[in-house]
């Protein structure tokens, strides 16, 4: 590890420094407000973690994963089932493992075949898991839900989610610098070439999906105490999957911090709409999908980078003669 810091390029060092400052500042919030702003910040932080973890996989592969609700629910239930039996940190580990294992199974079954199969499988996965969990609950327990009583208050959950988000970012940063990240870049450019230079494309995707699934499950585990009473429909709520997709894609997945750009405004907007126009949430979500496909295919960050590149090219064109078209 000693050579690690010296191997970083200066821009990477700068990014890490900026990230550390932002985390430190964000950690101060609970000292200023313990009511509405903290509450909505917990939501924002939750979706920041979920969307960034989602993008770790769905960004490079361009496969839309709808499994988020399944991993989240499994994480929530890991805490729900074990809260009276095992120490909390162990439960987080269990949640991560369950998320990783399920992701590994789903990935192994679908990613070797095609991306479309993957999307379809994840589409109903949350519903499938929910049915299984509900059935086991009715068979082996008396009530439908689980009570979770902890000493955790809103600010503790906030800090844990903040820490999780920071870890997800750090993981993404490390992956990008690693062989796995390079492999994903090659795969994203040309999967045939990737296979012919020796990349096991299926395995790379599955590993990435497992990392993503583990983090999402941990997020579910961390927020479990917030519910007090956990039941399948809310833990495995499919809307979680759709909202994560929208926010991450609206923000843009080409950058690690792209999804954040989508999370903050969209969480706030959904909060407003679900309280003022509760019957219109579906329509807003539908319009959001249209906006992504037709207006912002690379998200807001992608669009901004496009504009920046155009601006630069125009400036360069003012000073130099037109560059001859290079043959592709």
């Amino acid at each position: 590890m000693s050579g690690f810091l010296s191997d970083l390029r200066s821009e990477e060092k700068r990014s890490l420094a900026i990230g550390a400052v932002i985390v430190a500042v964000a950690a101060l919030l609970p000292f200023f407000d313990q009511g509405f702003y903290l509450s909505i910040s917990v939501n924002i932080m939750l979706y920041a973690a979920l969307c960034t973890a989602w993008s770790l996989f769905s960004g490079p592969t361009h496969y839309v994963s709808l499994a988020t609700a399944a991993f989240y629910g499994l994480g929530t239930y890991s805490v729900g089932l074990g809260i009276d039996i095992l120490p909390y940190p162990v439960l987080l580990l269990i949640a991560a493992s369950v998320g990783a294992v399920v992701a590994g199974l789903v990935g192994a079954m679908t990613l070797r075949i095609s991306g479309v199969y993957f999307v379809i499988f994840t589409f109903g996965l949350a519903e499938f898991v929910r049915q299984l969990v509900t059935w086991t609950q009715t068979k082996f327990a008396t009530a439908m839900g689980l009570y979770v009583f902890t000493d955790f208050m809103e600010q503790h959950i906030y800090w844990m989610l903040l820490a999780l988000t920071a870890v997800v970012f750090l993981t993404g940063f490390l992956i990008n610098r690693s062989r796995l990240g390079f492999a994903m870049t090659v795969i994203g450019n040309d999967e045939t070439v990737a296979r012919h230079v020796g990349i096991d494309t299926a395995r790379a995707k599955i590993i990435l999906f497992m990392v993503s699934g583990a983090f999402i499950a941990i997020a579910g585990a961390i927020t479990a105490p917030r519910y007090t009473y956990i039941e399948p429909p809310s833990a495995f709520n499919p809307m979680i999957s759709f909202l994560v997709v929208i926010m991450a894609l609206l923000g843009g997945t080409r950058r690690l911090w792209g999804p954040l750009v989508g999370v903050i405004p969209f969480t706030i907007m959904m909060d407003i709409i679900s309280s003022r126009f509760p019957n219109h949430t579906s329509i807003v979500i539908g319009l959001a999908f249209f906006a992504i496909v037709y207006l912002l295919p690379d998200g807001v960050t992608g669009r901004l980078e496009q504009l920046r590149a155009k601006f630069r090219a125009r400036k360069a064109g003012d000073h130099a003669p037109a560059i001859a078209e290079k043959q592709a």
């Binding site: 199969y117 579906s282 249209f290 496909v293 037709y294």
Partner: protein, 288 residues
């Protein structure tokens, strides 16, 4: 035996929605995740026609199918054709169309929720008993099945015995070659998409005669249709029908013998089996 027949009766409507999706994905190459909403919309229209205007749902089909055809054509032309034109490869079109049809899903569902609310609705139509092999079933289910079978047969006839239908199949196999033999691929794709929507709508209208429906149930049917299409082999009609029957029977089996709350588990169990042992589906062509 009872289970078998109940399952088969149910599979009639499953088959129609799966056939609709097969046309849209197999020919127009659009993975229409909003397909279930067409089904639900048709349920509501049939409901309204019957309870409001006393029009028999079977007659209502004559109104519902063409309307769905036109609306789906419009959806394809306005929302989906631009995606086809700008997609550089098939993978991009697939992910674009998934996102766009998600938009359709939520938009249509949202509109229906606004218009009709979230409550469950049903109506009684031909609710008398009908006996087959000593067991009694709702006459509505039997009639719905027969109607579905007739529609499926008509579709088969169209696809395999007419020029227009053959053009559709050609585009499903290879759009580039179809282009070379003077088939207007864009128009054919739009036609297939519209036809798929009409077939699904028929399924919805028939479903409403015996099934309690609400505005939010479209997603569940889309999921089942997707799995049926994959099980049967993408683009294959016989496969879709056979897979629909397998699904209908398995679901009924699980619901009757194990637990009615495990229908999704049954569906997914089948899906997993297909993925593990025959990913190309029952009638699909194995890719090298």
């Amino acid at each position: 035996m009872n289970i078998l027949v109940t399952g088969i009766l149910l599979s009639g409507t499953y088959a129609l929605i799966a056939l609709g999706l097969t046309l849209q994905y197999g020919v127009a190459r659009i993975m229409n995740l909003g397909n279930g909403e067409t089904l639900v919309a048709a349920c509501f229209v049939a409901f309204w026609l019957y309870t409001g205007l006393a029009i028999n749902p079977l007659l209502g089909l004559l109104l519902i199918a063409p309307t769905a055809f036109v609306i789906n054509w419009a959806i394809y032309a306005v929302a989906l054709q631009p995606l086809v034109k700008r997609a550089k490869n098939r993978g991009q079109l697939e992910s674009d169309s998934i996102l766009a049809t998600f938009g359709l899903l939520f938009l249509l569902q949202g509109l229906m929720l606004l218009a009709f609310g979230g409550e469950y609705r049903s109506y009684t139509f031909l609710a008398e008993r009908f006996d087959i092999f000593g067991y009694s079933y709702g006459l509505n289910r039997v009639v719905a099945f027969v109607a579905a079978a007739i529609i499926a047969a008509a579709l088969w006839f169209f696809l395999y015995r007419t020029r227009q239908g053959t053009a559709l199949r050609a585009v499903a196999v290879d759009p580039n070659s179809a282009n070379l033999v003077a088939i207007d691929v864009a128009r054919t794709a739009a036609f297939a998409f519209a036809l798929g929507g009409a077939v699904t709508a028929c399924g919805g209208a028939l479903l409403s005669t015996f099934y309690t429906f609400n505005a939010s149930m479209g997603v569940v049917f889309t999921m089942k249709a997707l799995i049926i299409v994959i099980m049967g082999g993408v683009g294959d009609l016989r496969g879709a029908i056979l897979a629909a029957i397998i699904l209908g029977v398995s679901e009924t089996l699980v619901a009757s013998l194990i637990d009615p709350g495990l229908t999704m588990a049954a569906t997914y169990g089948l899906f997993i089996l297909v993925l593990l042992f025959r990913p190309q589906g029952i009638f699909g062509r194995a890719s090298s």
